[in-house]
Amino acid sequence: MNPHHVRVDSRRSPLGGHASTTSRVGPTLAFDDTRHLTAHRWLVDEAYLLDEQDYPAWLDLLTEDIHYYMPVKVTTALGAGYDTAPGMAHFDENRYSLRQRVARFATEHAWTEDPPSRVRHFVTNVRTFATDRDDELVVESAVLLFRSRGDVGEPALVSAGREDLLRRCDGEWKLARRLISADESVIRMQNLAIFL
């Protein structure tokens, strides 16, 4: 592992105190491992929900202690030891603030999504890790979000890596933590009225 690579970590957030600290254990699970197949399927199903902007259904997939965190990336010199703006994120969400965001889209006055964007989440490079708990898995993926609005402006892209913590609750897998590593320091999209 490159010693200069910095992982996104809930503990760097001023609001990450409630987040689960479960981390990966051991090597990548085999691609025919049932746990990997389960996690991969979960991500693909989720991507369809997000593309359809079925946010109430998406909200049901999140645990009560969700930390949904996308720090602001900055360009720093090699070896600086950090590549995010200290104490600043695009998303630094708990269940309450995500619920409010979803509730807003359900009003008739969320103009930025009326008319709605056409969005497509391309999810790839999926790999899964076990944790020291049977009911939790860490799954990493790359996501490319394509978003087109109207018929005049150019479409916009957001590229990011994600490290998710999935937890089995009453037989159902839910998202307990999502750490999003944006690939741009300056977002080239008019807003992030979407979820990654």
Partner: protein
């Protein structure tokens, strides 16, 4: 060819030619006559707290390093090597004792002085060929600060910052001086929007009228204590010196009760009372107005609001500082910082940051809908029909130019400048009047700066002395 005179005259009577929001010729004029002169925000001292700390910021295309030298002084230096023009710093932030050009290895101390010039003797014959002694990266032509806010001007003859800001400093203190220690900044979030830079500046300067419509959704989901967005019209707008803004009318109560109403803890209230003037306190305590959005000409804005951030009736106030950095006539990079009083309790800082993220910035539920409007407006302003349309931005004025509502008296509003209750576009007109005044004045040619020759001004002489 553009008839500037007509455009500026129309702007001054509140009839805005729609094309000024997407016009290459106008943008070229803004670059030549406005951004070349006005005081431009580049950061806050709290962003570079330690010796060697730096951030890199732009004024249009010009890249500047804002660095705190080993001597503790904050300088702003043009980010271009004196030799072949390479950027000497390619990171956005960090800590460095030196900036070393990767091209030929010239290096500069964090105060700008050249310290390394490879093969100086062999390549130049030493000082006889290139006078290294006392030579520095080009400093910003003018640099000044207010409450730790760092501004530069590309005009060496710019008036002092305080003269430029004028009486708006009275209002700046609400955002940036809640205690003797002032604010600390976090961020910025940066993102690009296909909108003209003036739209955000005008909106924050005085557009209370858009709130009930544009931001209906955030009121509907219960983000605020007030159940109706129309409450906005009870507030007032004010303009003073080089800036203006909007306020909310607070419910009846004492100064303390009103500051508590917007969510400030008592310890912070005590510090505000110790740091703000009697007049600054009277605007809140006696007049019942609390600052919300504001803009300083040309492209710096502020916002203060107090949403609910959890399932409870409590609200949490936050402050954001933002810059509408022009990229072109139809594109703006938004830099949006979260600001908080340095002396605020840590828990307050965390929750205030939460309040900021929910409302403003790249994911903010307010800001999302604003930008949608501004992009749409900019797109439509590019065409030929937009060149025929004079937008009526005369709100608050009758056809004979008499005001719809009278200005508040000093008893009603203790702050400087002119304030009026209700909806009006006074502030947008004030901002565009400053804009027109700048665009009218021909550009000044600045003498080229020659480096390394005997004729070259030796900008760093005083520094070299100090360094000995």
């Amino acid at each position: 060819m553009l008839d500037h005179g007509t455009v500026l005259d129309d702007v001054r009577r509140g009839m805005t030619p729609a094309h000024i929001y997407n016009d290459r010729e106008i943008f070229d004029l803004e670059r030549e006559r406005l951004f070349s002169r006005a005081w431009m925000f580049v950061g806050h001292e709290s962003e570079v707290p330690e010796p060697g700390d730096y951030v890199v910021r732009r004024v249009l295309e010009d890249s500047f390093i804002v660095a705190r030298g080993n001597d503790g002084e904050v300088r702003v230096m043009f980010n271009m090597c004196l030799h072949r023009g390479m950027q000497v710093c390619r990171a956005e932030m960090g800590n460095a004792t030196h900036f070393r050009c990767p091209y030929h290895g010239w290096s500069y101390r964090n105060d700008g002085r050249i310290v390394g010039l490879p093969f100086h003797q062999e390549a130049y014959g030493g000082e006889a060929g290139f006078r290294r002694k006392g030579q520095t990266l080009l400093p910003a032509p003018a640099l000044d600060t207010y409450n730790g806010l760092i501004f530069i001007s590309l005009d060496p003859d710019a008036p002092p910052l305080r003269d430029y800001l004028g009486e708006f400093t009275f209002y700046l203190d609400y955002y940036t001086k809640q205690s003797a220690s002032g604010i600390e900044l976090r961020g910025p979030q940066r993102w690009r929007v296909k909108a003209n830079w003036k739209i955000g500046a005008e909106n924050f300067a005085g557009d209370m009228y858009h709130t009930p419509q544009t931001h209906a959704s955030v009121v509907e989901i219960g983000l605020f204590r007030e159940p109706k967005a129309e409450k906005r019209k009870d507030g007032c707008t004010y303009w003073a010196g080089r800036g203006g803004g909007t306020t909310y009318k607070l419910p009846p109560g004492t100064l303390d009760e009103r500051l508590r109403y917007v969510g400030y803890p008592d310890a912070m209230i005590e510090r505000m009372k110790a740091n703000w003037s009697a007049e600054q306190l009277a605007v809140i305590g006696d007049n019942g107005f609390m600052v919300s959005a504001a803009s300083v000409f040309p492209n710096l804005s502020f916002v203060h609001n107090w949403p609910k951030i959890e399932d409870s009736d409590d609200v949490l106030p936050f402050i954001s500082i933002r810059q509408w950095q022009p990229i072109s006539e139809d594109e703006t990079e938004v830099l949006s910082w979260f600001a908080v009083d340095k002396e605020a309790p840590e828990e307050f800082k965390a929750l205030s940051y939460k309040a900021y993220l929910m409302c403003f910035g790249s994911t903010g539920m307010f800001e999302q809908d604003d930008v949608e409007n501004w992009v749409s407006l900019t797109t439509t302003a590019a065409g030929s029909m937009a060149r025929r349309l004079l937008l009526n931005n005369r709100m608050g004025l009758r056809s004979d130019d008499s005001p719809v509502v009278p200005a508040l008296t000093p008893d009603e509003f203790a702050g400087p400048g002119v304030a009026r209750v209700g909806y009006g576009e006074y502030n947008q007109r004030f901002l565009l009047r400053d804009w027109a005044d700048h665009l009218e004045r021909p550009a000044v040619r600045h003498a080229p700066v020659e480096v390394g020759t005997p004729a070259a001004p030796r900008l760093g002489d005083d520094l070299a002395e100090a360094g000995r």
